[in-house]
Amino acid sequence: MYLIIINGTYMVVTAKSLSVFTCYCLRESIFPMLAIQPPKATITTHDSWTSGPPLKAISSLNPPAVLNAESLEVWRGGVCLFEGLDFTLESGQVAIVSGANGSGKTTLLRVLSGMSRAADGSVTWRGEEIHRLDMENRLEITYQGHMDGLKKEFTVEENLQFYQEINDGQYPLEDLLDELRLSPYRNRQVRYLSAGQRRRVALGCMKVKSAKLWLLDEPLTNLDARGAKLVSSWISEHANAGGLAVVATHQRESLIQTASIEIEL
């Protein structure tokens, strides 16, 4: 009986590694033959935009908060989305990821969060491989994807509380609810909220974790003008406080003033 289970997982693993292997073979054999170059990401650095927060004293035990991506190569569905992507994000810097639909913004963020693996290259946080982080370093990273991650049977407050407790967050809930204009809805179940309100709750859940590195995938979706302004001010405040953020967005103009690096896929 247990053989089947082991066999089952084993087969999943082999299928996965097989596909990676096939992708690798395809890249090595067919691309040079056809002289097709996989898309190359462009990276622009905007030094003038960096507000340049004062560097905090870093204890010798803890390596500096740096997110480093080295020659990342990402495949999805048999297509190479990008290859050779290098960038380094330091304390106080924000990277904006832009690109057309399907260019790999979400996949890049998932790779940066450690949830998905890149076909090649590495992502490190404080010098450690992202998918091998210990508990303390893992606490410093938050990822907010397309899906809200909210339980619709729970009230706004219960959702926020859960994420705060599980991540040891310290952010005061009252202030957060006020900022998000959600105080009147705090005891309402999420299922009765509008899409924009849900997104605000989700962003609140992201904020209560008090993480150092924010990975945000389209944070402005469904938000009204005030909500978008709030997010952009959050990102600048976060950067000014020495935080890091990678934000994938189609509304480049709303967030570009906060950015110090721009990655175009």
Binding site: M1, V12, M115, M147, E153, F154
Partner: protein
Amino acid sequence: MHIFLLILKRDLRLAFRRWNELATSLLFFIIIASLFPLASSPEISQLRDYGGAVLWISALLSSLLALDGLFRTDAEDGSMEQLVLSPAPLGVIVLAKITAHWIVSGVPLLLVAPLLALSFYLPLEALPVFIAAIALATPILSVLAAIGAALTVTLRGGGAIIGLLMLPMMVPVLVFGTWATEAAVQGDNPNGALLLLASLAILSVSLGPLAAAGAVKVAME
């Protein structure tokens, strides 16, 4: 431990807010079990003969019902992503979810099964053994449910596939469960079957959450 309790509390609260799903699998259990006397003869001697088997098959089938929601709702609303990325070890999170699943699906079954056993005229002396066997079997079923749910979490219409995948894995539980019950009804010594069930329970509770956590991780990639 803190994380375990946190997830357990969350899942229990969620389950009670969706109480209709809870009731469904329990009512399903009662209904399947009561169909058998209708389809065959309701004579006491016959009821006693097949009662044990009927109860065990009903328990297995009804446990399949509650199984699909174990990870699917979390995967669909994005909570699973957040849990996978949370600092807690995934095995602990999965174990907490399994425990919650057992409390809301296994324990009610454990409470109702003795009543049904009595209605099948199982002798009173056999009841403690039957209850012990069900108590050992329900955690195994919950763990197997978790593995099945984790393997099929990204499949559309996973519900039907889970049945095909899990029922063969549940066969040992059925075999040892009915063996223990029959032995007790016949007045034989049921210890062998109970010990085998206990060892299966230990094996599944200790290793199952890790297997399910691995499957969830692969599914989330």
